[in-house]
């Protein structure tokens, strides 16, 4: 039951195109219905070996000893992999963007920080043999106190989950233990509000649950290369991660994928490719490493849980004068993508509304649980639940129909947003109006007449006269840098010209070299000098500030 309301924004579109806008069948559909679409596991190899991991039964424990002698003698076992076999056994996913510190090993050597963390990997002739050998690896653990709740984890004296971030909080900009948003002065606005509405919201961890579990098959390819068939959502992302962990030039890696049985964000983490390739390197044979469903659900990274506190100051007529957020993202034991999800979330606050005073402190918190990662709606789904459940409470507090409240506060073209950029291309008012009409909800004449196109801007488009800032959560010992300010910032802020279909004759635009390059590739031109960001705290480890997406 779908209708296209072409009357909206009709003058902004040319609806007479040849192929765009047509309900063309999917290019891949014949393969899907005949069962011939080639997913990563649909490649057969002679002599395929199977990898399965030995996993921590503890939330948090020191590893005293790993004894693989019995496992090595088990039938079908070809090799047992340990952390020391991984050429560079520490990574953080976004290091490819120079974002954050390496914090997570492929196979842990010293301690485990969540139940299910891998400490060794069996490479065997059959999956059944690999499973049997997993049980034969003897790991001696010394259990450590653990912490599972985000607010417990940020209390002084909480067990340290990941030593690289000793306060269990990701460090933003080398400056604060959280990401701030400061726009206007919420406290001042609260003092003159007619209503204060407060709420606490909790999202649950959610599994992406693609029908195909995550996995990869790697095999020695001709001429000293490795081919890797993978379910990854980012082919070069996984290739770059594997190249880094295996200290191997990207030119020796040949990744094949592109046809994936669902992802929803759960196939970005690149856990499988490096281990499968390592297996192939050390055995000289094709190796498959894939999660079974149980692993997919409990050691595969979920959409992390988020906890949000929202406080609104509201005028009698329903206008929201101020909104304050405190957010905790449960990152689990390592960073993966949570730190970035927060940036995306903070850029999204306070939701699709024009509110003159906005404040947020958002923490990326480490706990002793499975690391979280991306999922459909990355950084947004959780806070949108909080905002919109909260809006319902605000509507009740001021006695307004919930749709009227949204339209009243909705952002419009030309409004200033809390991240200090002007809103454009808005359409929230219209969506609300269409749904009200379909659902038979009566709107006031003012709400019916509202539009995203002309009601905004003016006073609504101006920055606040004053913004209250603070140094809460300032950290020392980190030296933050800022990509933007150290060469490149100016260009980064320039508007970009987009290629348009009516623009055929124009010479193709060639932006500057991409910021991310595979680690082993030699730069095509002299890179800009790297800002001095070495952290004095962590020796060789390098810290990039939050926005320190440094060029190499």
């Amino acid at each position: 039951m779908i209708e296209f309301r072409k009357e909206f924004f009709a003058n902004e579109r040319d609806d007479n195109l040849n192929e765009i806008g047509k309900p063309t069948r999917r290019q891949d559909i014949l393969g899907h219905v005949t069962g011939r679409s080639p997913y990563f596991d649909d490649h057969l190899f002679e002599g395929l070996l199977h990898i399965r991991c030995v996993r921590s039964p503890h939330h948090h424990a020191r590893i005293r000893r790993i004894d693989i002698s019995a496992a090595e003698k088990m039938p079908g076992v070809v090799r047992v992999l340990l952390g020391k076999d991984v050429p560079r056994n520490l990574n953080t996913l976004l290091s490819l963007l120079d974002f954050g510190l390496d914090d997570e090993p492929v196979l842990s050597e010293t301690k485990v920080a969540y139940k299910g963390e891998p400490v060794a990997a069996i490479v065997a002739e059959s999956e059944a043999q690999a499973r049997a050998a997993v049980l034969a690896v003897k790991v001696e653990y010394e259990a450590l106190p653990h912490v599972l709740d985000v607010e417990d984890a940020v209390k002084p004296g909480a067990p340290v989950v990941c030593g690289i971030y000793p306060t269990n909080k990701f460090i933003y900009h080398g400056k604060f233990d959280h990401q701030k948003l400061r726009y206007g002065d919420v406290e001042e606005a609260f003092s003159r509000a007619d209503h204060i509405v407060e709420g606490r919201y909790q999202m649950s961890p959610i599994e992406q649950a693609p029908m195909e579990t995550c996995g990869a098959i790697a095999a020695p390819e001709i001429n000293d290369r490795y081919v890797c068939f993978t379910s990854t959502q980012g082919l070069f992302f996984s290739l770059g991660t594997a190249a880094k962990l295996l200290t191997m030039p990207s030119s020796r890696l040949h990744f094949v994928g592109g046809t994936v049985g669902g992802g929803f964000g759960g196939k970005v983490d690149s856990m499988h490719e490096p281990l499968a390739i390592l297996g192939a390197m050390l055995t000289g044979r094709p190796c498959k490493y894939a999660w079974d469903r149980e692993e997919e659900m409990q050691v595969g990274a979920p959409r992390g849980a988020e906890r949000w506190y929202i406080k609104d100051g509201v005028a009698r007529d329903g206008r929201i004068l101020a909104r304050k957020f405190t957010g905790y993202f449960d990152s689990g034991a390592y960073t993966r993508l949570s730190s970035y999800a927060i940036i995306k979330g903070v850029g999204h606050l306070p939701g699709p509304y024009t509110i003159p005073n906005v404040y947020a402190d958002v923490f990326c918190v480490y706990t002793n649980r499975t690391p979280a990662t991306a999922m459909r709606g990355f950084g947004i789904t959780g806070v949108d639940f909080a905002i919109e459940a909260h809006m319902d409470k605000v509507a009740e507090a001021v006695g307004l129909n919930p749709i009227e409240l949204r339209i009243l506060n909705s952002y419009r073209d030309g409004d200033m947003k809390a991240h200090r950029r002007t809103a454009k291309n808005c359409a929230l008012v219209e969506c609300c109006q269409v749904v009200a009409e379909k659902g038979g909800v009566a709107l006031s004449p003012a709400s019916r007449a509202a539009t995203s196109l002309i009601d905004g801007g003016g006073e609504r488009g101006r920055l606040p006269a004053r913004t209250a800032t603070d140094q809460n959560g300032a950290v020392s010992g980190y030296r933050g840098g800022s990509y933007g300010k150290k060469g490149g910032g100016a260009s980064a802020m320039q508007p970009i010209r987009m290629p348009t279909p009516t623009d055929a004759a124009r010479a193709p635009q060639r932006p500057a070299a991409p910021a991310y390059q595979p680690p082993a590739a030699s730069p095509p031109s002299a890179p800009p000098p790297a800002p001095a960001m070495e952290t004095p705290r962590h020796g060789a480890l390098r810290f990039s500030s939050l926005s320190g997406f440094r060029r190499r």
């Binding site: 219905v33 005949t34 029908m211």
Partner: protein, 157 residues
């Protein structure tokens, strides 16, 4: 591990191969025979991605021991198109009843048995018939529509 010869019919052709003791039919079909259309989704009997038809009934290949098909007729999605695509396949294409496509082969097997037994199913019949096949992408609606459309098309023909 002991190996047993298994002789059976796959999509109308005689097949024979050795199966290791305890090997499930899914792995046997995929790696032993080379029919990659049944998919691994869980190995627990809970998702239906490995659904195949054995002697006219849907079974979960992951929970079937390979040698259990000895002397029996097995059908998989790769055999559904016989020279030209099956009406169900045509309807799945037309109704956009697949996104990632991973559940599609199993879904088609369940749909085929439904229509073979009940040429004019109700929506509730279709829902019951596909209840053992999970889909994470489509929200099921287009799949239900495609199966009902196939039945309607056949009724008209």
């Amino acid at each position: 591990m002991a190996k047993k010869p298994v002789t059976f019919t796959l999509n109308g052709s005689d097949r024979a191969a050795f199966a290791e003791e305890g090997l499930n039919l899914l792995e046997f079909l995929r790696r032993g025979i080379g029919d990659l259309s049944p998919k691994y989704g869980c190995g627990q009997g809970a998702c239906g991605a490995c659904t195949v038809i054995i002697d006219g009934e849907t079974h979960l290949a992951c929970l079937t021991m390979a040698d259990a098909v000895h002397g029996r007729k097995v059908e998989t999605a790769s055999g559904l198109a016989n020279g030209k695509v099956h009406p169900l396949q045509e309807a799945f294409m037309e109704y956009f009843a697949a996104q990632c496509g991973y559940c599609t082969p199993g879904m088609l097997m369940s749909a085929k048995v439904l229509l073979d037994r009940n040429p004019s199913p109700t929506r509730a019949d279709v829902i019951e018939a596909i209840s053992g096949n999970l889909c994470r992408c489509t929200g099921y609606e287009p799949i239900i529509d495609a199966i009902l459309a196939t039945a309607n098309m056949r009724a008209r023909a």
